[in-house]
């Protein structure tokens, strides 16, 4: 097994910045990415997108060009289209590329595996025609494809508004935006505006998106308190209620895009059993990290949204910080030197993330959007409903590893990525205990499915 100094997983802003920073200090990193092209989710398909009208995806998207250029330095061993299916605490990494499984080892690892969308398990969320705003954006960026119009967007959070404006600019008909942000949230978020003003440009961008949508006359329905998708075999209509009104309202639509923010993708940090904590402000799990973004496992660090949601710009700064951390760990820099170089980055990071409390409070999804009702699926792979999880709690299941054994919840092809947070929160709620006490799935490799044939081949090649 070959041992490399530094292996970085992921080529979003954090991964790319970590790679170029490490290179500055004489480390030649291996950068692994599952996607065929660099950029992560935020800069996905930047080099190949058919959407050449730069106005549609916006300047933030195109700002990823310089990071991608940095990643292409010939000294960086960049391996696209490579899946990581295993990582051990001894820092052995199982890779899969072109049908070939391989194991490599690293002295230092930076996980830059980013965020995933928070599931939004409303009644009917599994109907064909219902998808997430994130997947809608992937289609747009990578293939220039848009779903069948008119579309309805529902939920909350910056990405929902961004996608709406991108659709608007691309000429997609938007039937409505159903905003689930509770009305009192605007007032609650107000007290965090001083912090938000430290990152005024992001705040202004948000205001700009809202203005653009309003000017275009997009129907923006606020204070949505209940939501369901209906149709026989596929989505036909969306129904909702507004706060203070007990009547259902209806819109016929072939496409519903759901979104209620993003959460750290902790699949890999969980699988190696890093210490995780429940972040009550962001309502999500995150690995515990030190000042160099290292986990409690020696030689494994996390940069970017995977360690707690910070956004693309801050993720890149964290990538720089983790790159310095790698240089320190690999004896390329002294502690004094790396501390000195980290200082301006930490300062900029503090400024940029000052807007987080404001966003976290404003777009904090209410309980009814996080806990599916008894008839709604929590686990899509194994088709386990919210009701079944509640029954398991009544039977005495305190944590998700017990419900897993009884219901197979979380044991399907997505490996519990989609239902993990929902099941932890459901059990915590039903057992009236904290999410922290309830815990999370013990995750098992492979992180992504690998075939027996691919694995067997690895045996032959030793």
């Amino acid at each position: 097994m070959i041992t490399h100094d530094l292996v970085i997983l992921g080529t979003g802003p954090a991964g790319m910045a970590a790679a170029t920073t490490a290179l500055e200090y004489g480390i030649t990193p291996v950068v692994i990415d599952e996607q065929p092209a660099a950029g992560g989710q935020i800069y996905r398909a930047l080099e190949s997108t058919p959407v050449r009208d730069r106005r549609i995806l916006g300047e933030d998207y195109w700002s990823g060009e310089s990071l991608i250029k940095g990643l292409k330095d010939p000294q960086i061993d960049y391996r696209p289209a490579t899946t990581v299916w295993q990582l051990t605490r001894q820092r052995e990494i199982g890779l899969l590329h072109d049908d070939k499984a391989e194991m490599i080892c690293a002295r230092h690892i930076i996980l830059a595996t980013g965020a995933m969308e928070r599931p939004m398990p409303i009644p009917g969320w599994t109907l064909p025609g219902v998808m997430t705003a994130g997947s809608g954006q992937i289609l747009l960026k990578s293939a220039g494809a848009v779903p069948q119009a008119p579309v309805v967007l529902a939920g909350c959070g910056p990405l929902l508004l961004l996608l709406a404006t991108q659709y608007l600019r691309a000429g997609v008909e938007i039937a409505a935006i159903l905003d689930t942000t509770p009305r009192n949230r605007y007032r609650a978020a107000l007290k965090h505006t001083p912090g938000a003003l430290r990152n005024a440009s992001t705040l202004l961008k948000g205001v700009g998106l809202l203005r653009e949508l309003r000017r275009a006359g997009v129907r923006h329905i606020k204070g949505v308190s209940a939501l369901r998708a209906e149709g026989s075999g596929q989505l036909e209509r969306v129904l909702w209620k507004q706060q203070g009104d007990d009547n259902w309202q209806t819109l016929e639509t072939p496409t519903l895009l759901l979104h209620q923010g993003v959460i750290p993708n902790t699949q890999i940090t969980r699988a190696v059993d890093c210490h995780h904590e429940w972040d009550e402000q962001q309502l999500s799990w995150r690995p515990r990290l030190d000042e160099w973004l290292s986990t409690d496992i020696p030689g494994i660090a996390v940069a970017g949204d995977g360690g707690g949601i910070v956004g693309a710009k801050a993720a890149a700064m964290q990538g720089q910080l983790a790159g310095l951390g790698a240089a320190l760990a690999l004896d390329k820099l002294t502690l004094a030197n790396s501390t000195e170089r980290a200082q301006p980055i930490r300062k900029a990071l503090a400024r940029d993330t000052a807007i987080r409390p404001f966003l976290d409070v404003l777009y904090r999804p209410a309980k009814q959007w996080r806990l599916p009702d008894d008839d709604t699926l929590a686990c899509r792979c194994e088709e386990v409903t919210g009701g079944e999880i509640r029954r398991m709690a009544e039977m005495g299941c305190r944590g998700p590893n017990q419900t897993k054994s009884f219901t197979r919840c979380g044991m399907g092809p997505c490996q519990g990525r989609m239902c993990g947070i929902t099941v932890s929160e459901l059990l915590a709620d039903a057992n009236q205990q904290s999410v922290e006490e309830t815990g999370y799935y013990r995750l098992r490799p492979p992180f992504k499915p690998i075939t027996l044939g691919q694995l067997a081949k690895a045996a032959e090649e030793g």
């Binding site: 295993q86 051990t88 605490r89 052995e92 199982g94 499984a101 194991m103 059993d273 017990q402 054994s405 009884f406 197979r408 044991m411 399907g412 092809p413 490996q415 098992r444 490799p445 492979p446 499915p449 690998i450 075939t451 027996l452 044939g453 694995l455 067997a456 081949k457 690895a458 045996a459 032959e460």
Partner: protein, 372 residues
């Protein structure tokens, strides 16, 4: 008369002991450092197998098999037991000779549950098997069950009979107190007239404290499970000279195991899988069932098992103390025996001659110098 019993370890054997002792009116407390069925008992391959047992284990396995038939009447749940049979497959003529010899040996002991089958019969029973296999050894009536469900059913029944389960308490000290023991863990103390050691991979530590060390190692047999496939396999399949255990569940997923081991991290109380071993196992599967090449693996894991030097368990009274009973070290094949452990422990507690022959499992075997 000793009435208060503390069972250390809430695996299948601990739950079985708790149930049978409660049945007899003992006041039973089961203590587990994690939760019931956390390790070997909850995450094993679920094989219910008499096939290929060590000669000393055969009478126990046969008695246990009878309990498996009546599981619902014992604990109110069939524990997912499916008597689909088990077959050990020969991959070549050398394997066939080994199986032939095994059949003869078992029959000489007076048992007839293991039967040699020829190529045609093998083909009939396992149409998906690769053509090169010349035969196998079959045990009809064996099968598989659901491990975690089993532990839970036994634990529940023990609780209904009055046993008390204390989870998340790690015993850190044992000292004699009066005619019994005082166990301490966390901030708590537990007094017992009788101590039952069912602590699995952590039993060796207890034995050390009790002054009778045993050659026990913690091992971590690995398992992997595939995505759902169309039904192609009814019977549980093993190989003769390579580690393999292979079964398809009703939901279509295929479980692959057989004893290739991962890495135990005893300090963190967990086990990790090892690529090399998994790859070896995958290779065996693909050579026996070529079409499985395309099957995707969904999960791999390893459970922590107590393995004795001679690969058979310790069941019986302590050699040092008359108020300690051991039942541990089932060496990665204890699941099937779970139902009878409690009966033996109850017999010993009541100072009755156990109905099953347990002399070969005495802890004293490690204290007598070997003739060699």
């Amino acid at each position: 008369m000793s009435r208060r019993v503390v069972v250390v370890g809430a695996g299948f054997h601990g739950c079985s002991a708790a149930l049978r002792l409660s049945n007899q009116g003992y006041e039973v407390t089961v203590i587990d450092k994690a939760y019931a069925g956390r390790h070997a008992s909850g995450v094993n391959a679920g094989g219910v197998r008499r096939l290929g047992r060590h000669p000393a284990e055969i009478p126990l396995a046969i008695a246990a098999w009878e309990r498996w038939q009546n599981m619902t009447s014992i604990v109110g749940d069939d524990c997912g037991f499916r008597p689909v049979g088990q077959i050990k497959v020969a991959e070549n003529n050398n394997d066939m000779a080994i199986l032939n010899e095994r059949e003869r040996q078992v029959q000489n002991l007076g048992y007839h549950h293991e039967k040699l089958i020829n190529r045609d019969e093998l083909r009939k029973r396992l149409p998906a098997l690769a053509g090169h296999c010349p035969g196998g050894l079959a045990c009809d009536g064996d099968g598989f069950a659901n491990p975690y469900r089993t532990v839970t059913a036994w634990r529940r029944e023990a609780e209904r009979q009055g046993a008390c389960f204390r989870e998340g308490i790690e015993i850190t000290d044992i000292e004699p107190k009066g005619n019994g023991w005082r166990l301490s863990g966390g901030e708590e103390h537990f007094d017992a007239d009788l101590l039952v050691n069912c602590a699995g991979a952590w039993s060796g530590e207890l034995c050390k404290w009790l002054g009778e060390p045993v050659p026990l190692t913690a091992e971590a047999p690995m398992l992997m499970i595939t995505e759902r496939l169309s039904p192609f396999l009814g019977t549980v399949v093993g190989a003769t000279s390579r580690p393999l255990s292979f079964k398809q569940f009703e939901n279509g997923t295929v479980l692959i195991g057989g004893g290739v081991c991962g890495v135990v991290d005893i300090a963190r109380h967990v086990a990790e899988t090892r690529l090399g071993g998994l790859a070896e196992n995958a290779d065996t599967v693909v050579s026996l069932f070529p079409f499985m090449k395309e099957a995707r693996i969904m999960r791999t894991w390893a459970g922590v098992e107590a393995v004795m030097q001679d690969h058979i368990p310790v069941i019986g009274l302590s050699s040092q103390h008359d108020n300690v009973i051991h039942a541990f070290g089932f060496s990665a094949h204890g699941y099937q025996l779970g139902p009878i452990t409690g009966e033996i422990v109850a017999d010993l507690a009541m100072e009755r001659e156990p109905k099953l022959p347990i002399t070969p499992f005495s802890i004293q075997r490690f204290q007598t110098p070997c003739p060699e």
